[in-house]
């Protein structure tokens, strides 16, 4: 749910502004679109008898959305939840720079989970996460995190890897200095037009440092988890790596319903759709050609992938990273060679620790279906 189509900073690697169409959208979610979305959401929940719905407030920078309107929106969502019995879970992904006491009070009051983007220590973070004057934003982000923690909100953390940096420094900084034990380090968004640097050495070292030094301390990195789980044959838990469908719907600030927003990395108008909450039910997006093509591409892999040893564990990587103007999504990931090296390495490290056990089937299924530990907020160290 795009609350804002603009941002207060100017990260050099951001996919969002690679599509000039975002400048044609209202700067903040329009009141009419918000109203229509809430109505459509309630219809959708009732029609499909949903007991759970996940909304992520996103941008640009979502906290550019006026606080007064944010509160009113939460009240509307609360009302929908009350009337339908559906739990509407809410999260916000932010650079934390605008976080102040008022925001923390609002986020706390409505149980909005918070995810903050931090790339590592100041010299790594400030290389790419800069304001419109080119100044680093690390100090401002840390002020925001401190503000969140002052009211007991423990944010999650997303980093974008810089393959030229040392992953051990990032890990040490996030865990030992920021005190965060569950987070993610993502490969930079890129397509085949970008020719990005390989990420293999970075992730191989990241895995080794994690496995040898941090895993026993309860540190978890989602992308590494996803790779391990894929390697041992479990379902994908991430859209960064692993096989599975992409069926995210993005609500734009003008009410249009688009496919996963990262796909706009493909260029101007690349996610533009014919669906809008003012005219369409949420479910109608499934018939929209752009949404449909992204969904189908996520489930249909190219020949190279189909022949690959790691097909099930990799799933072609992130859909956006498969894009080329010549063959659209019918490619392996732009990081394909890197992923293969990383999978080889992780398998070599974990295979010697694997044991095959025989257990009672009923007990196995009971244990497997017991609730997973609550990982929604990373504990402080």
């Amino acid at each position: 749910m795009k609350l804002a189509s603009r941002c207060n900073i100017n990260c050099t690697y951001c996919y969002w502004f690679r599509d000039a169409d975002v400048y044609k959208k209202p700067a903040a979610l329009s009141a009419e679109s918000e109203e229509a979305f809430c109505r459509r959401l309630e219809e959708h929940i009732r029609r499909f008898e949903l007991d759970r719905f996940l909304l992520v407030f996103h941008g640009g920078e979502p906290l550019l959305f006026p606080k007064r309107r944010f509160v009113a929106l939460q009240e509307k969502l609360h009302g929908i939840g009350e009337r339908t019995g559906c739990e509407i879970e809410r999260g916000v992904t932010t650079n934390a720079i605008l976080i102040d006491e008022e925001w923390t009070g609002i986020l706390n009051a409505y149980g909005v989970e918070v995810s903050v983007s931090v790339d590592g220590p100041p010299d790594i973070h400030d290389r790419h996460r800069v304001d419109f004057n080119g100044r680093g934003t690390h100090a401002d982000t840390l002020r925001g995190i401190a503000c969140l923690r002052a009211v007991g909100i423990e944010p999650g953390l997303i980093s974008v890897c810089n393959p030229a940096s040392d992953p051990e420094r990032v890990l040490s900084y996030v865990v030992d200095e920021l005190g965060i034990r569950q987070f993610d380090i993502l490969p930079p968004d890129a397509t085949h037009a970008d020719n990005p640097p390989p990420i293999a050495d970075y992730y191989i070292k990241l895995f080794d440092v994690w496995f040898d030094k941090y895993a026993a301390r309860g540190v978890r990195i989602s992308t590494l988890d996803a790779m391990v789980q894929g390697l041992v044959g479990n379902l994908s838990v991430s859209d960064t790596i692993g096989f599975g469908p992409i069926d995210t719907v993005t609500l734009m600030t003008d009410g249009s319903l688009e496919p996963l927003d990262v796909l706009r990395i493909a260029g101007n108008g690349s996610t533009a759709s014919n669906s809008n909450v003012r005219a369409n039910a949420l479910q109608d997006v499934q018939a929209d050609p752009r949404w449909r093509s992204a969904f189908e591409a996520s489930m249909r892999l190219c020949e190279t992938c189909l022949q690959c040893e790691y097909l099930d564990a990799c799933g072609g990587g992130h859909l956006a990273q498969r894009w080329s103007s010549e063959r659209k999504f019918d490619n392996p990931s732009v990081y394909c060679e890197s992923w293969k090296r990383i999978f080889d390495h992780i398998w070599d490290r974990i295979a010697p620790t694997l044991i095959v056990d025989v257990v009672d089937a009923a007990a196995y299924r009971r244990a497997a279906l017991s609730p997973a530990p609550n990982r929604r907020r990373a504990p402080k160290m």
Binding site: L54, V56, G91, E113, V114, S115, P155, I158, Q182, F183, D184, F211, A215, A216, R220, S222, D225, V228, Q229, V232, G233, N234, L235, S236, V237, S238, D239, T240, G242, F243, G244, P245, I246, D247, T248, M299, E309, L311, D312, A313, G315, W347, I350, A351, P352, T353, L354, I355, V356, D357, V358, V359, D360, A361, A362, Y364, R365, A368, A372, R375
Partner: protein
Amino acid sequence: MSDDRDKKYQGAKAIQEELNKKRLSRRGLLQRLRLMGVGFGAAYLLSGKDAEAVAKSEGEGSDTVASLKSTNPALNEVIDEGRKDSTLGEESAGDDPSSRTRTAYRRVFRRVYRRI
């Protein structure tokens, strides 16, 4: 001990020996495990079959299953958590033709909340 259980123990022992001697590829290991009833993860999505059909072809109904673990406790926790997800995926897939949508929901859910 039932025949089935005995067969599973023998099978698990053989797989473990091959694994220890590095004679088993990852694909080979997963294929052998699937025949013994270990969660089939992404396999059903890739196969295009419905989960019930896959489960039947992979030994559901047996009173024992093979289970993959790690001697490294942290890694074991990751695998165990993934198994819970995979089993939930199978459960929902068996009940509902829209299983892929449910799987995807969980995938995004996990992705976001892992990050949050």
